[in-house]
């Protein structure tokens, strides 16, 4: 007979890498739950996926130069987010084109750096698909740090971000500082993506910025309900996915995303009809 789930959990949490991954997942769930609301509302999911893929070039550059990949990836993602926003904001090119070009360029740079390094000792799939074994204490503090600035940002500016997302032009005329708020939101999108790479993986992150609020939207017609459900959904799939991945000996990020997708489509099928 298998061990009791509670006993397994207690045992797992005694493993330091698992404990770190668990607490990071809890914090990331809150971050993604909230971020996802704005990403879905503003229809930025492709931008999110693009920024996540851009991180690959940054990670590879860090490994190539022997710098902690977090820092190079953050720079890559921030620059990509801001350049794409500027180019599309001025109407130079469409968002779709900008993102499409940028992320493949950055992934190409990544492939180049890896080839130049001529060493395959690092864990490439770990970055692409996540690997909780690679989680360090530093990651925990990075996530904590991002959370410590993101939560106050949302508390201070939530309704203005809502106005801006709903009707950008009128928001500006009404006195909202559009550029500052939009750049900040993009910067948080980039930061949150980078700090979750080790748990979820570059390729799988886009699921976590789209699924949570989409799930909340299935049940609620008001943003409070959507956000609360979005956070609860992410907490469930991230922690559930983590334990399940250990139990089934599967990769954590992939397990989370598959669990979330199954949950989303199940909810879509059985939810009560909304007005």
């Amino acid at each position: 007979m298998p061990d009791l789930p509670g006993k397994i959990m207690t045992e797992l949490l005694q493993l330091s890498f698992f404990r770190n991954a668990f607490f990071i997942s809890l914090m990331l769930a809150v971050l993604f739950g909230i971020l996802s609301f704005f990403v879905v509302l503003r229809r930025m999911s492709f931008l999110g996926a693009g920024i996540a893929h851009t991180a690959f070039g940054g990670v590879a550059l860090g490994l190539f130069l022997g710098i902690h990949p977090f820092f190079t990836a953050v720079v890559f993602c921030l620059v990509a987010a801001i350049v794409i926003a500027r180019l599309t904001g001025t109407g130079t090119i469409s968002a779709d084109t900008g993102i499409g070009i940028f992320f493949s360029f950055s992934m190409a740079l990544g492939a180049l750096f890896i080839a130049l390094k001529k060493s395959y000792s690092f864990d490439l799939t770990g970055y692409l698909f996540g690997n909780i074994l690679g989680v360090e204490k530093l990651d925990f503090f990075l996530v904590l740090g991002v959370m410590a600035i993101f939560i106050p940002f949302i508390l201070f500016f939530f309704h203005r971000l809502l106005f801006l997302s709903f009707d950008r032009e009128t928001a500006g005329i009404s006195g909202i500082r559009r550029d500052a708020l939009e750049t900040s939101l993009l910067a948080f999108l980039a930061l949150i993506i980078v700090i979750s790479i080790k748990i979820v993986g570059i390729i799988l992150i886009s699921a976590l910025i789209v699924l949570p609020a989409s799930f909340g939207n299935l049940f609620f017609s008001h943003f409070r309900g959507v956000i609360v459900f979005s956070v609860l959904f992410t907490l469930f799939i991230m922690t559930g996915g983590l334990f399940l991945s250990y139990h089934l000996d599967t990769p954590a990020g992939a397990t989370m995303v598959i669990l979330g997708t199954i949950l989303y489509f199940t909810a879509l099928a059985i939810r009560p009809r909304r007005r």
Partner: protein, 258 residues
């Protein structure tokens, strides 16, 4: 007497790529006046609105709104704006009240919190547009006309002396259009608002506007709608669009009235 004017445009020129989009526009508006700028698409209506809102630089001339130069930060929150009717997601997670509240939040400091006075303004704005009973309805499920009213309430919630509306009748059927223009007329009288709207449709608005300006790069006619009877002038401004513009022959009715 520039100070009594809510809008004062003098000899405004805007060029795009060396081509004039607006030529020597002069237009004034006072309190309690509803002015409609009509003209064909591409005739510079939106450019004019953008210049008034300070969203684009202009090459020559002067634009003063409420006594301040266009684009001045002192005008933030002083001009109610209704954007061109967009498509809204049916499942937008916002109630009508949340939309109206937006302009109240716009000018808050660090702490975003509605206090009693904010809630009063939101309620009275919803009452002004006859949408009191729809405050808790999801915005996305409202009809086109109801959404326009909620967006007007959002502008009213900040108590602006002036409102600017970009093609407000787009997407509304004739009945909804008439009741919408009636609402604007009432707000103008009750609140002493200056209302400037642009439209490609001269018919619907002419019974309600105090003055009409026909714009196609230049202002070709500016005066009372009932004086707007010169078909040759209209044909010159609107070209082939003239039949479309006069489609419901509202202008004929207003001629008979005069």
């Amino acid at each position: 007497m520039t100070t009594s004017l809510t809008l004062d445009i003098r000899d405004l020129w805007v060029f795009f790529n060396g081509q004039p989009a607006l030529e020597s526009i002069s237009l004034e508006a006072n309190r309690s006046e509803l002015i409609s700028v009509v003209g064909p698409n591409g005739g510079g209506k939106t450019t004019l609105l953008k210049a008034i809102l300070g969203l684009i630089p202009f090459n020559r001339g002067e634009v003063r709104v409420l006594g301040k130069p266009a684009g001045s930060t002192a005008l933030h929150g002083r001009i109610g704006y209704l954007p061109q009717g967009g498509e809204y997601d049916r499942y937008l997670p916002l109630r009508a009240r949340d939309v109206v509240a937006m302009t109240r939040y716009a000018r808050m400091g660090w702490r975003e919190k509605l206090v009693a006075v904010d809630r009063e303004r939101i309620d009275s704005a919803l009452i002004s547009v006859d949408m009191k009973d729809f405050g808790h309805s999801p915005f996305g499920t409202l009809s086109g006309g109801q959404r326009q009213r909620v967006l007007i309430a959002r502008a009213l919630a900040m108590d602006p002396p002036m409102m600017i509306l970009d093609e407000p009748s787009t997407g509304l059927d004739t009945v909804a259009q008439d009741s919408f223009y009636e609402l604007l007329h009432r707000l103008k009288v009750e609140k002493g608002l200056t209302i400037l709207l642009v439209s490609h449709d001269i018919g619907g608005v002419s019974s309600y506007a105090d003055r009409i300006a026909c714009l196609n790069r230049k202002i070709h006619f500016h005066g009372r709608p009932q004086d707007c009877r010169d078909r040759d002038m209209l044909a010159q401004v609107f070209g082939r669009d003239i039949h479309f513009l006069l489609h419901d022959e509202k202008c004929l009715t207003c001629r008979e009235k005069s």
